[in-house]
Point group: C2
């Protein structure tokens, strides 16, 4: 059963991703979802409230599917750390790839401590935490540090694939990740 709020959120996510946030009016969102204007303001306080809910929904879906894709691609923890970048590469090839919707939101909402920006920060923090759990499973001596370095590579690949239009960004990031992971795990043996 799909409720009205769900239908609106689903379409809003897609349209926000394709065209940005400020550039689309609520009338378009409502028409596309087939929802009355009053329903928007009943379920969400404002347009910003809808944006926030759409981002949260997106984040939840992302956490589930991203982890599943990575874990389907490799079973060994160390291989999973690198499979992350293969999953990214697949994503970048999609026709509807428009960069990271959370980074895009950060670009459009300047107020640093707004709820929307907080949702962006939480999404990014989750990715680092996920990488940390993989790094720990791989036996890294300092999982948080390795995770922080890999997180930079992940967001860098996204940013360059989108902004610079570099099709090989995921491959470059993967190479750097291989070196970084090898170095971090070699330190374990030395310790």
């Amino acid at each position: 059963m799909t409720t009205v709020a769900d239908r609106l959120l689903s379409h809003a996510s897609t349209i926000f991703e394709a065209k940005g946030f400020n550039a689309v009016g609520i009338d378009l969102l409502l028409a596309e979802a087939g929802v009355a204007k009053m329903s928007l303001y009943k379920h969400f306080k404002s347009k910003d409230g809808l944006v926030l809910a759409a981002l949260r929904r997106r984040d939840q879906r992302f956490r589930e599917t991203f982890a599943a894709l990575v874990e389907a691609r490799a079973s060994e923890p160390r291989a999973r750390l690198l499979a992350v970048f293969d999953v990214l590469g697949r994503w970048f090839e999609r026709d509807d790839f428009r960069g990271c919707i959370f980074l895009n939101a950060a670009a459009e909402f300047p107020e640093a401590d707004s709820p929307i920006r907080r949702a962006v920060a939480e999404h990014k923090a989750w990715l680092r935490e996920y990488l940390r759990s993989l790094a720990q499973a791989a036996g890294a001596p300092d999982p948080p540090t390795l995770a922080a370095e890999l997180a930079v590579l992940v967001d860098g690949a996204i940013a360059r694939a989108h902004g610079a239009g570099e099709a090989d960004a995921a491959a470059s990031a993967r190479r750097a990740a291989e070196t970084t992971v090898r170095s971090a795990l070699a330190a374990e043996i030395a310790a």
Copy 2:
């Protein structure tokens, strides 16, 4: 001598960086710069034309100052490759840090082959080319590949410092860069 167009571009750059593009109207830009509306439409074809010119101007300034800051910080080519990330760290600490204005523009202008997006891609291509020249000077056996990996680290640091609000993004990127550079230059010795 500052012309009217220069004055408008200068203020527009600052305001676009602080508040985004779609969210600010031309009236604000004109008032802040003390310029008449007709002057905008005489010197630039449209608001998008002003955005494009502001980005180009910003890009030119960036190329000059970024290279100068890196080269003032270290004289050895290999040290310069890492000094890049120290310069980034300083930038992230600024109160007016709002991420990369070019990535922000890519977020707000979805049309992938628009002049604005082309300016963004050119800016990002320049950074990679600059890193390639540093990598070559450092004696890397494969400068383009090393440059691509470092470029990912640079944009990843920017993205995470802004989007995730991670103050240590530059330091994480620097550590990964050290490993990447060491590995690339060690390959040279082996060859």
